[in-house]
Symmetry: C2
């Protein structure tokens, strides 16, 4: 009998429900606030931009929320995703640790993002919405929503941060292949965009500006809604299909993780793998949960836990989260998906409750880990996912140093096929690491809204 490499679930074991961690939290999540009244947000506050079903999920305390059959039908194009034991990497590291990874790069857009873009497109279509507007930075989310829109007959308009729009033409090509339109932001199509362009016609854009443009389009048109790819509760909820599958697959493998690892930007791929394991931890299972972020954008490791805006333009509700300050501008890096000043409120809350730990790495050590991974396991990780790879390798080396067995499970949230420029730069020795400048943080945090 040969050793297994992959643990595949048959389609009939695809989870039938998403898991809502809110139901099991020992302390309830602090509510989002209306920035005008500073009162807890009500459903009507969100009605102009999200469909009813999504707002319900955002506010739900139900433990299990059924995955609609049309969503499961689309999930089956790539789900259940494989759980893979990295046996070659284990041998290369000469470690007694077992290393498993859940591979979300098998999705059509190459990352975990379609786990939420598909249900979001479905609920919008069910409620008669004709068009979705969204923003995208590096392009992963824009591609995922473009894919989902194509399946449910929704028009999709993506405002892509102009600097990325110019740097990553193939992301735009993928969105257009799925039938979406992709517009460099700031654009002349919105008031928000025109205002920026009037001040600075050469503006490179930012995620904050792109969000403002997309939200403006959604508010201005009755048949148009907005969609967000991370941070919010309903997004974390949809991603839990990852962890629910992993629980079944680890059982197939006859192994149990001692440590569960994922990278954190807005927090959704972390939540997806980790929340089901945090449920087990709350129930009493002994397990460590680790979030990994870039040293250049250290939200969980250096941010303040406070109410803050979700966007730079300060248009969103106030959320209690780990934040570097809404005006904080993270230095450029190749992990565009991790360059966010805030953190999912649910993930932040979990951190405050001591249910997870967080650590940060420089990008070059993550690329070195990604290369070692690619040369043993064949898969080239997305730069974001390489943070989880680095942490998994460090845990495996620690196990070796301690001479202890250890079972490690991490989320390989996406592949790097659209990020090869980052690898080119790394291989050419062009990537620089910078020590994080705490004084920048002091400045941005001084600007936090004052909430009693």
């Amino acid at each position: 009998m040969t050793e297994s490499t992959k643990y595949l679930l048959s389609e009939d074991r695809l989870p039938k429900a998403w898991y809502n961690l809110a139901a099991d939290l020992p302390v309830p999540l602090p509510p989002p606030l209306n920035p005008g009244t500073l009162k807890p947000l009500v459903a009507d506050d969100l009605a102009p931009i999200f469909p009813r079903a999504v707002i319900e999920q955002e506010m739900s305390a139900e433990r299990w929320i059924d995955i609609p059959e049309p969503v499961r039908e689309v999930y089956r194009l790539w789900r259940p995703s494989p759980l893979i034991r990295a046996r070659r990497l284990e041998r290369a590291l000469d470690t007694p640790a077992h290393i498993y990874f859940k591979y979300e790069g098998v999705s059509p857009a190459g990352s975990h993002k379609p786990n939420t873009s598909v249900p979001q497109a479905f609920y919008n279509q069910q409620e008669g919405v004709k068009k979705l507007a969204t923003e995208t930075g590096a392009g992963q989310w824009g591609c995922s929503l473009a894919f989902a829109g194509s399946l449910f007959g929704l028009e999709v308009q993506v405002f892509m941060v102009k600097v990325s729009f110019n740097q990553k033409p193939y992301r735009r090509a993928l969105m257009e292949t799925y039938g979406a339109t992709c517009i460099p932001s700031p654009s002349p199509l919105t008031e928000a965009g025109r205002a920026i362009l009037a001040r600075d016609p050469e503006s490179n854009g930012s995620l904050g500006i792109a969000i403002s443009e997309a939200v403006e389009v959604a508010i201005a048109h009755d048949d148009t809604k907005y969609a967000l790819g991370s941070v919010l509760n309903h997004v974390c909820l949809h991603q839990t299909v990852i962890g629910e599958e992993a629980l079944l697959q680890m059982e197939m493998a006859g192994d149990e993780p001692d440590v569960v690892i994922a990278c954190t930007g807005g927090g959704s791929n972390f939540a997806g793998l980790a929340f089901p394991y945090i449920r087990e931890k709350i129930k009493g299972r002994s397990i460590r949960i680790v979030g990994v972020e870039p040293h250049s954008c250290p939200t969980l490791t250096k941010g303040r836990y406070a109410y803050d805006f979700g966007d730079t333009a300060k248009l969103t509700p106030l959320m209690k989260m780990h934040t570097l300050g809404a005006t904080f501008m993270p230095p450029g890096s190749h992990s565009g998906g991790l360059r966010y000043h805030g953190m999912s409120p649910m993930v932040s809350h979990v951190k405050e409750l001591g249910l997870m730990e967080a650590r940060s790495y420089h990008q070059t050590e993550c690329f070195a880990a990604a290369l070692q991974f690619a040369r043993n396991e064949g898969i080239v990780p997305a730069p974001e996912s390489s943070h989880a790879v680095k942490a998994a390798i460090d845990e495996a080396l620690l196990a070796k140093a301690e001479g202890k067995a250890r079972t490690i499970l991490f989320n390989l949230s996406g592949h790097g096929h659209f990020d090869m420029q980052a690898y080119t730069d790394y291989l050419a020795g062009k990537l620089k690491d910078r020590v994080f400048d705490d004084s920048l943080l002091d400045e941005a945090l001084a600007d936090l809204p004052v909430i009693d």
Copy 2:
């Protein structure tokens, strides 16, 4: 019970042997000839460039050849690959046909090529070879050999046609990520390269020149061999793992293909899916087998069945095959993997025996089919594979017009993540189709070697 979308084999059903069609051919394959003596090639003729095990397979008449366990271990990183029923595409086409595709894009390099790069690297390593030299056009093969080399500790040197080297920097980045070196060809590293550069310092290179450079490197160094990614018998052999899996998976689906479709360049992905089905056809099963090629390089549909050289520089043995003439220069297209003047001798022989049919398409109609596929099934096909997609859609529409059920199986040999420029050009309306100029063919064919 919901309808199945994917048919996954467990790892223990990964085939234990490759299938050699030579054992079942009703008429033996015409042998390759030594171009000097015009006598059938002997093993020693190939010894300077291939390891013994590969030469044996090239000349074998054994029906089944065991897949070594270390190769199966690597295969398990992505194999068995999924068989997917394209239910959403069926509904979009409103066809009574069932459409299945075998998806080879799940491999680390994104195509079927690692099915042969892995055993080739293994056999070379077993025989003490330290380095492999190869050529690559669009880059699929170079990436696949780079991946395989990284796993078996072999140095890999890839001569990449200069025009592609400059156009596709991310293919080079992928090779380097796997630890290979990638050199634009013609290069100053070889006599062949220097000769070309002396005549034309600005030469864009060609596959023929790149082959000459790689072969020269292999011959010049005792510890270095050459590796080829298509055309030859041992390559077709290694690819049959695709069709053997598909036979098991179609059984799981409770369906039997009426028609099996794959695109043809050098013939290896076609052979991989089709040869096991041709065995069944020879045994009496009623089934159509269709090879699909670009109208701009119509080897099977317009070429002559004759002895010809495998490379432009006329250094290789003579092979009996469908050929457009070794000096034929196919016009540029985005399906670089299909731009080859010849065809696998085994595939050519199968065509002559009437065991398969061939058809050709223009590239724009293939991209239109690829878009329809991507918007329904989520996967963006490689431009090469889009030829098979187009043929499958045409078969499904024919079934609809005839009001008949029909089961279609095609090989989706790779994804298009590294070919998004092609999609950009298509979407911008920049791709042109040209009617094939038969007079070019007359000229190239007049140049065929004269063999009695």
